[in-house]
C-alpha cells in the first residue's frame, strides 16, 4: 500500500514521535511512503536547530535520519514554515532573516504537494495534537 503521511505537530509533541514510529512500521511492513508532508506546527519537526534535552528523545534528528536513510520525499509547507520562522537558506536570504534552520533532507514547497501525495496514495494519514 502507498501511504501519504501528513504531520501537524512539533518534534516535542507525542504525535510527532507517533507519526515517525508509524512511518517506520509502514516501511518495515513492506509498504511505500509516497511523501511526508509537514504542515501547521509540523514544520517545527523539520527544524535543524532543535536542542533536545539529553534525557529526552531527539525526534527532529530521528526524522532527519529516517528520511535520509530511506530517501523519502520530505516536504515542509512553505507558507506554514515562513509564518513560524522555519527557513531554509534560500528563504532566509529572500526575506533577509539572520538564521537558517531548515536543511536537507527537507524541501520547502506548497500545499499542492499535499494534494499530489493524497491523490497518489492509497491512504492519507494525519498526525497532530498531543
Amino acid at each position: 500500500m502507498k501511504f501519504a503521511i501528513a504531520l501537524f505537530s512539533a518534534a516535542h509533541a507525542p504525535s510527532s514521535r507517533r507519526a515517525l514510529l508509524f512511518a517506520q512500521a509502514a516501511l518495515a511492513g513492506g509498504h511505500e511512503i509516497v511523501r511526508l508532508f509537514f504542515y501547521q506546527d509540523g514544520v517545527y519537526s523539520a527544524s535543524s536547530n532543535i536542542v533536545a534535552p539529553q534525557d529526552e528523545q531527539d525526534i527532529a534528528s530521528q526524522w532527519r535520519a529516517f528520511v535520509s536513510e530511506h530517501q523519502l520525499d520530505g516536504v515542509v509547507c512553505i507558507a506554514a514554515a515562513l509564518r513560524r520562522g522555519v527557513l531554509n537558506a534560500e528563504e532566509a536570504t529572500r526575506y533577509q532573516r539572520s538564521a537558517v534552520n531548515l536543511d536537507a533532507p527537507w524541501a520547502l514547497s506548497g500545499l499542492g504537494q499535499l494534494h499530489d501525495a493524497a491523490q497518489a496514495a492509497d491512504r492519507l494519514i494525519c498526525f497532530g495534537g498531543p
Binding site: Y39, Q40, A80, R83, G110, L111, G112, H115, C126, G128
Partner: protein
Amino acid sequence: MSKSLLVISRQAPWSGPSAREALDIVLAGGAFDLPIGLLFLDDGVFQLATSQDAKAVQQKDLSANLQALSLFGIDDVFACRHSLNERGLVSPASAQPLSSEQIHEMIDRYEQVITL
C-alpha cells in the same frame, strides 16, 4: 478519477492560524480542480457568524477566503447543525446545515478526510 477529500474545520476564526490553514488546504485543492468538501464543525461554525470585525483584533478577515470557495469550484460547504445550535448561531447562508446523521453519511462519501 481524482480522489475526493473532505476538510473538517473545527477551530474558531482567530484561535491561531488553524482556520486559515484549513481554508488554504481547501482552496489549494480547488486550484487543482480536485473534488473537495468543507465541513464546519464545533467551534469551526464561528467562522460563519455574521457581523464579525477581524480588524478589532488585527486579524485577517477570512470572509474573503470563504467567498473565494465557489470561485475555486468548491460548492460542497457544510455546517454541523448541532454545533450551530449549541452556539446559538442561525443557519449560515454560505454553508448547508447538516444533522449528525447526515454528516456521518457525508463523511462516508469522501475517500479521504483531514480534520483540523
